[in-house]
Amino acid sequence: MSEDDLKVFVKGAERFFMQATSKPAEVSTPFVKEDADRVIFDFSAVIGITGTQRGCVYYTAPRAMVRDLVAQIGETEQSDDILADYVGEITNTISGNAREHLGAGFMISVPVVFRGAENVRFPSGTPAFVIPILWSGQRSSLILSLKDEDVAVPDFAAREKKEIVGARVR
């Protein structure tokens, strides 16, 4: 799991805040999610990644923050539906940025939105990195749970490096 690939998602989040709001967001130090950590806020959206890395990317934010964000784009209605929808939109932006950079060897799913923390599951066996995204004094999180794909099905190759010992010709 390369740092550069992870950064793509972080950049995606930063870009969203840059473009959609007047204030940029700040990224604080990421940490590894431990079992006891409760990292999910009021609204979350998850996208699936598959390709040379596979797993999930979550964006989660508290209600107050989403309200503020929604207000930024001039939306006056602030029902839960609107808020949930917008969180999905944010995550879409993040995944859109990812698509650009990760290229044709990846598939990125549409975001699925959750309210509250009960139903949000993290893939077991894969560590999840929680990256705090701070905006306007409020805290949201980008959570990356990705692992490298084994060379199981040898299809997603970039161009192969030359093998000198390619032939066993008698």
Binding site: E160, K162, G166, R168, V169
Partner: protein, 118 residues
């Protein structure tokens, strides 16, 4: 029959040559695309083996160039398993046969024979 071996590995070139050599075929070799086209011009082989996993050179353009010069040339493309996309592309551009690395002498001979069965 005239055969041109294009592969940037000297070891492979020699091993292919050893296998074919039993057939009294005239053989020339080339280590990259430019060389291959030059040799092709003057040698005019009927068969070409082309490694398309050479990183320095685009094996596919070479296939296309050769077929452009003489469309009846039989090209046996040699590739590694992992790169299916390039393999499909090679067949698309007109490669006649296909061989996976690593290969044995038997496989090589079979594929060469198959080149002429339509």
């Amino acid at each position: 029959m005239k055969l041109l071996i294009v592969d940037d590995s000297n070891v492979i070139r020699r091993s292919i040559q050893r296998t074919i050599g039993e057939r009294h075929t005239e053989v020339r070799t080339a280590g990259n695309g430019i060389e291959a086209l030059q040799v092709f011009e003057e040698f005019q082989p009927e068969i070409v083996t082309m490694d398309i996993t050479m990183p320095e050179m685009d094996g596919l353009s070479c296939v296309e160039a050769i077929l452009g010069k003489r469309p009846t040339t039989r090209i046996l493309v040699i590739s590694a398993l992992a790169d299916k996309a390039t393999a499909v592309e090679a067949v698309k551009r007109g490669a006649t046969g296909f061989l996976l690395k690593p290969f044995t002498a038997d496989t090589l001979n079979t594929e060469l024979a198959e080149l002429f069965i339509d």
